[in-house]
């Protein structure tokens, strides 16, 4: 088996010990002095890095990063309200269409002077093919005789 690359050894190093025995690389490392040496060097490097103090980030770091980020357009305020207003407008228009005819001022009730014309109309309408003659009879029952 050829010697593994540095990246392959670094990955091997992060595998838990119990799982390493199942890897083909393990047998090679056990018999290859060069690879064992490389592994020990990697382990020492990791130890040295872990021993270094954590870097303190400057306060202005985020501001600098934020300045370089592309500006994402903010959701528009008015288009949302516009849709809401349009919806409300449609609802009001529907409500007006449905209810305004009922809210309009009712017509004045005709005076008794027109009563004979209405009675004549009722009697003449009894000749309609599909007239409800019984309802004409109910209407005419209360008709008073002409003075």
């Amino acid at each position: 088996m050829r010697c593994p690359t540095s990246e392959e050894l670094a990955a091997y190093q992060h595998v838990p010990l119990a799982d390493r025995a199942r890897m083909p690389l393990h047998r090679h490392v056990m018999h290859c002095a060069a690879c064992r040496q490389e592994l020990q060097a990697l382990a020492r490097t990791v130890q040295l890095l872990e021993a270094l103090p954590a870097p303190v980030l400057p306060d202005a770091l985020w501001a600098g990063v934020a300045d370089r980020l592309p500006v994402r357009p903010r959701p528009a305020f008015w288009p949302g309200w516009g849709r809401l207003a349009a919806g409300a407008g449609v609802a009001v228009a529907l409500a007006l269409a449905l209810f305004v005819p009922r809210l309009t001022t009712p017509l004045s009730v005709a005076s008794s002077a027109t009563s004979p014309y209405v009675a004549d109309h009722a009697l003449l309408s009894a000749q309609d093919t599909f007239a409800d003659r019984t309802s004409v009879g109910v209407v005419l029952a209360s008709q008073r005789s002409a003075p």
């Binding site: 309609d128 093919t129 409800d132 019984t134 109910v138």
Partner: protein, 308 residues
């Protein structure tokens, strides 16, 4: 796919298309092989040819009443209504005259229009079938302007057994036969005096009364046609009132016209106490025109404005 399955699919597709067509176009619906127009024609014919005695309940103007109807042949009938307050009205038609009289001593006689001149309704559709007063019935709907009627017709005889009338989606009257006996009925001739009657007017009589030909509407609601022109006496006693009647078979519109009548009456559109009927008044030259009909104010004004 086998040949059988193909055939079943074809039949189901055709049935689906026919069903959708009948739903979308009510005129295509049929009961006992008759379309809505044929059922309405059947009912119209039954009104002139079938003789029977019927009793039932009716409702109009917020009043409930019981009615008894003696329907003879040739469209002759005698109808009596008695409301919950005991007020009675008797109406009748002997083929030549239509008349009514009531407990208030009010009475009127009208020259009956020949039934052949009555126009057919403007539109009709089948609503369904059912049973009423022990009869198998078909339910139909007819529309005239803002007036909508549901008419229930005996499937065997064509006689109208129930009718509900709505004006702008508001129920204004309803009648229902509870008992019916098909038998020969004798209808007696009208015996009321004819003074003040609405009598059919000749063109010469119209010119004598108004000094000109009768004013007529040049615009009318859909389906309305001239049915008859009458001559009568105004309620103030003024001779020479002319009444022009238009009808579509479902509703009537009248134009009462007088010239030089002493009755004081302003112009405008008013609601009759009965509710759905409107009274619109306008002066055209020397002639005062009073339009009465079951239409909205806009329609009534449009009719009056078109009077020439």
């Amino acid at each position: 796919m086998t040949r059988g399955w193909k055939l079943i699919s074809l039949v189901l597709s055709i049935a689906l298309l026919v069903g959708l067509g009948c739903w979308r176009y009510p005129a295509l619906r049929r009961v006992d092989g008759r379309s809505a127009a044929q059922w309405l024609a059947f009912a119209e014919q039954a009104g002139r040819t079938v003789s029977y005695h019927a009793e039932g309940a009716t409702w109009a103007n917020g009043q409930r009443a019981h009615f008894t109807l003696e329907q003879g042949r040739a469209g002759c009938y005698t109808l009596q209504t008695t409301d919950a307050n005991g007020q009675r009205c008797t109406m009748g038609c002997d083929g030549h005259r239509l008349w009514y009289t009531n407990d208030q001593h009010a009475a009127k006689v009208v020259s009956a229009a020949p039934s052949s001149t009555t126009p057919a309704p403007v539109a009709g559709r089948i609503l369904g079938t059912g049973e009423l007063a022990g009869c198998s019935v078909v339910r139909l709907a007819v529309q005239s302007g803002d007036t909508w009627k549901e008419i229930t017709v005996d499937r065997h005889t064509g006689v109208i057994l129930a009718m509900t009338t709505q004006f702008r989606h508001r129920r204004i009257s309803a009648m229902r036969v509870e008992k019916i006996a098909y038998r020969d009925v004798t209808v007696h001739p009208c015996t009321l005096p004819t003074a003040g009657a609405l009598a059919t007017a000749t063109p010469a009589q119209v010119r004598k009364a108004l000094g000109r030909d009768a004013l007529q509407a040049t615009w009318l609601p859909a389906g309305m046609q001239l049915a008859q022109i009458y001559q009568t006496v105004c309620c103030c006693g003024h001779q020479g009132m002319i009444v022009v009647r238009y009808s579509d078979g479902v509703s009537t519109l009248t134009l009462s016209q007088t010239a030089n009548c002493p009755c004081e009456m302003g112009s405008g559109c008013l609601q009759a106490p009965s509710g759905h009927t409107l009274v619109a008044i306008r002066k055209v030259g020397a002639v005062r025109v009073i339009a009465v009909g079951p239409f909205d104010a806009g329609t009534m004004r449009k009719v009056l404005d078109s009077v020439r």
